[in-house]
Symmetry: C2
Subunit: 183 residues, 2 copies
DNA sequence: GTCTATAAGGGGATAGAC
DNA sequence: GTCTATCCCCTTATAGAC
């Protein structure tokens, strides 16, 4: 075991959340995984919600720099490329987490209330432009859903990160009709 | 209230599962929604799992006819068109259900053990052909994930079923490079 | 940092009356 | 079909010793 007791809790939680979902993971399971008691876990975090937030925060924190980098570009096409590449990287890096992050009702509540949601909306606007039509909104929803699910799909675990990243980027760009090469 | 007591339970369960997830929905919540007690619900179904199965069965039952219709077509292109159209129809019809059906750890377990999984595999093979490469498998995973998520996306609830169906079909076909018109 | 012990509540499920 | 009452288990969370 490397890292502080706090880090050990977070690593165990990430593993268990990925396998059983947040609602399906009790503090007892986290404690058992570490070989300690529930009270020891409570010494590190005051509530279960705090553990969930600490697990998902690093992933959500990746979004803000993507939005800033995209907004520094001048053309809408370049902005779309930056958003797409950044989000794909993030999804691959947090493969195991994304399924849990998007669907568990507990996390859904925590994410809805999270400040990072404004960044998510900025990223969507960077992809769609303002006042998108129905077809464009469906395109973006398909890509968002596809990235999350494909990132966690068991059938794709044999692909290494770099291969998965490349395929996801190509497919997402085709769906959104974004050219990946500039000019 | 129209329908048998059993039907009322299933309708209430569908609503609550869609909103809170299966793990987040207790028998007490279902009973409260109907204005009865838990024991009355248990009179209709022996276990909670049985309720979940009864809710998802109609959606899973839609898959088999799609596979059969597709297999009656002679060209791979025609088969892909039939699978795509059928699955999109099913996703739209069961909009609220699909999120729950795909991600809740409880349902995930029930679906994995369900006989309809062999049909799912047949549909995937109809789309990809046998022995697909990594890029093709990512394409299919993206479309599957995108359909499920877009179908349940709150931001798209303003679209009526027919509009949503049309956009989903167009976008999914583009992602998979399937031509929707034959010939 | 970790322990034992316990509180307080909700979960699924059952027994038996009406 | 529905009720009351209950069982047993697991959950989050707290108190206080070491």
């Amino acid at each position: 075991m490397i890292g502080s007791a706090r880090d050990r809790v977070l690593r165990a939680a990430l593993d268990l959340f990925g396998e059983h979902g947040v609602s399906g993971t009790s503090l007892q399971m986290i404690a058992d995984e570490l070989g300690v008691t529930k009270a020891a876990v409570y010494h590190q975090f005051p509530t279960k919600d705090e553990i969930v937030l600490a697990v998902i925060d690093p992933a959500l924190a990746r979004l803000e720099p993507i939005a800033e980098a995209a907004e520094r570009r001048r053309t809408p096409a370049a902005r779309r490329r930056v958003v797409l590449a950044g989000v794909v990287d993030m999804v691959v890096e947090y493969r195991r987490l994304s399924r849990v992050l998007s669907f568990d009702p507990v996390v859904s509540r925590l994410v809805r209330q999270h400040p990072a949601m404004t960044t998510v909306n900025r990223l969507v606007t960077l992809l769609t432009g303002t006042d998108p039509d129905g077809a464009t909104r469906v395109d973006v929803a398909m890509v968002a859903g596809g990235l999350v699910l494909a990132g966690t799909e068991n059938a794709l675990t044999d692909l290494d990160d770099e291969t998965l990243r490349r395929h996801l980027l190509t497919t997402a760009a085709r769906t959104l009709r974004v050219r990946l090469s500039d000019g």
